[in-house]
């Protein structure tokens, strides 16, 4: 009976073990089932969201073609990859990159390092002003190298606009003066008012430059005469104030933006458009044009004046330092409005003229030769408040011209590492 009891006990124990194992198996199966269900649900939901998003994108594109853009593209609409990218501390990384590349390299490393960089990014070493690579103490100096005089002949002709820098043309065209939109890529635009800022910017910090070139008054008068630029404060510049009254669309079919729309848009960009001689003396049927030039890492990174003009206002927008490589321009809406930039506004013989260097990842230090105190993306940078526009005027540079005269081909500044 004892043996029987022991056998029964063993068999009951086995039964319990089997039951436990079965229970564990069924538990595992339940967990697996839950994972399968959850994964399937996620895939289905994700697919639905993706399809609906694609539909809305197509709708946007259709609306864009019809010229009735009602939805504004948001930065994180593209995909999670861009969202993750946008959360990176790119400004700090760029500053660190600049500091690291400002360290003096051992002389024996320099030729090897710079030749490797040149091989990777297509630098033309033959046109360097100083061809001895050992003279460049670090990559920052090499990056901001000078080129031999005469290697960049400037296209002559007073009605010719020359390229301000080396690079690749990313976009050229006409700005829609009605909406004030510039095309970033086909179907994707950004606002010129956000890009260049307006005098009514809610967070505008204003200052005046300390430049004083009054000793060159005669030269400035000649500059104004040759380029048909109105003198600041002269009676000629005082034009009657315009009142804009909306009388609706009077045209049946409008092919070209009217002059008044241009004037309206430009007067929003700068309060001084009329009073400070921004408008040209001889009225033309004008349009607003734009050109975007991308500087690759191997390009000569100085920028020069594309025409004879007078720079009157500088607006600094501290911002992000996203990459401005063509891929990002195609996929990152409002890229130029988000990035750190310096909008230089002024006038030339045909009216409004502006040139805006836009910073990028690792190349956030924008330098202006005629404004030595100005720095960007630096620890000494006083312009740190985000979403703030820091405006300075160059009236003191020339009382005659009301700004800084810039001759075509003259070096204006450049982009440095950091």
């Amino acid at each position: 009976s004892t043996r029987l009891f022991v056998q029964q006990r063993r068999s009951s124990g086995e039964i319990v073990d089997r039951a436990k194992a079965a229970a564990a198996n069924s538990g595992r199966k339940q967990v697996s089932m839950k994972w399968v269900v959850l994964t399937s649900f996620t895939i289905v939901l994700g697919t639905i969201l993706l399809v609906s998003r694609n539909d809305s994108t197509e709708e946007d594109a259709t609306e864009g073609k019809k010229g009735r853009r009602t939805r504004k593209i948001k930065i994180f609409n593209n995909n999670w990859l861009f969202f993750c990218y946008s959360t990176l501390p790119l400004n700090a990384m760029s500053r660190l990159w600049g500091q690291v590349n400002s360290l003096t390299l051992p002389i024996w490393v320099r030729p090897w390092g710079y030749r490797l960089y040149s091989f990777l990014f297509g630098v033309n070493l033959d046109e360097m002003e100083d061809p001895d690579l050992t003279h460049y103490a670090n990559l920052s100096e090499f990056f901001y190298r000078n080129i031999k005089p005469g290697t960049r002949p400037v296209a002559q002709g007073e009605d010719v606009i020359a390229s301000p820098s080396d690079g690749k043309i990313l976009q050229v065209g006409i700005i829609n003066s009605e909406t004030g939109e510039i095309e970033q890529v086909k179907g994707m635009t950004y606002s010129i008012k956000e890009f260049l800022g307006t005098h009514s910017h809610p967070l505008m910090s204003k200052s005046a430059s300390s430049l004083d070139l009054t000793s060159d008054e005669e030269k400035h008068r000649e500059f104004a005469r040759v380029n048909r630029i109105q003198l600041a404060g002269s009676e000629d510049t005082e034009q009657p104030l315009l009142n804009f009254k909306n009388e609706g669309d009077q045209s049946v079919r409008e092919f070209k933006p009217s002059v008044s729309k241009n004037i309206h848009l430009l007067s929003q960009l700068s309060l001084n458009y009329f009073s400070n001689g921004f408008s040209c003396s001889e009225p033309h049927d004008t349009e607003l044009f734009f050109a975007v030039i991308y500087l690759a890492p191997g390009d000569y990174h100085h920028f020069h004046s594309p025409v004879d003009w007078v720079c009157k206002v500088r607006r600094h927008f501290p911002g992000d330092l996203f990459s401005v490589a063509p891929y990002f321009q195609r996929n990152f809406p409002n890229l130029f409005v988000l990035n750190e930039r310096v909008a230089l506004l002024g006038s030339w013989k045909y009216g409004f003229f502006s040139m805006t260097p836009v910073g990028a990842t690792n190349v956030g230090s924008i330098k202006l030769n005629f404004d030595q105190e100005f720095v960007t993306n630096s620890k000494s940078d006083k312009h740190l408040e985000p979403h703030t526009c820091y405006q300075a005027v160059y009236e003191n540079a020339s009382k005659i011209l009301g700004g800084m005269p810039l001759v075509k081909g003259e070096e204006m500044g450049g982009f440095e590492l950091g």
């Binding site: 606009i161 020359a162 390229s163 690079g167 975007v292 500087l295």
Partner: protein
């Protein structure tokens, strides 16, 4: 880095470059038609 030009010019202005072209500093970007000159 990028340089963006925005400017007012007579309607006769024509770009001499196309999207994708490589340019050098000083190269002609565009010209205003001669008809507009006075």
């Amino acid at each position: 880095s990028t340089v963006v030009l925005c400017f007012e010019a007579p309607t006769e202005f024509k770009f001499d470059v196309r999207v994708g072209d490589k340019v050098k500093m000083g190269q002609k970007l565009g010209i205003i038609g001669k008809n507009d000159l006075k």
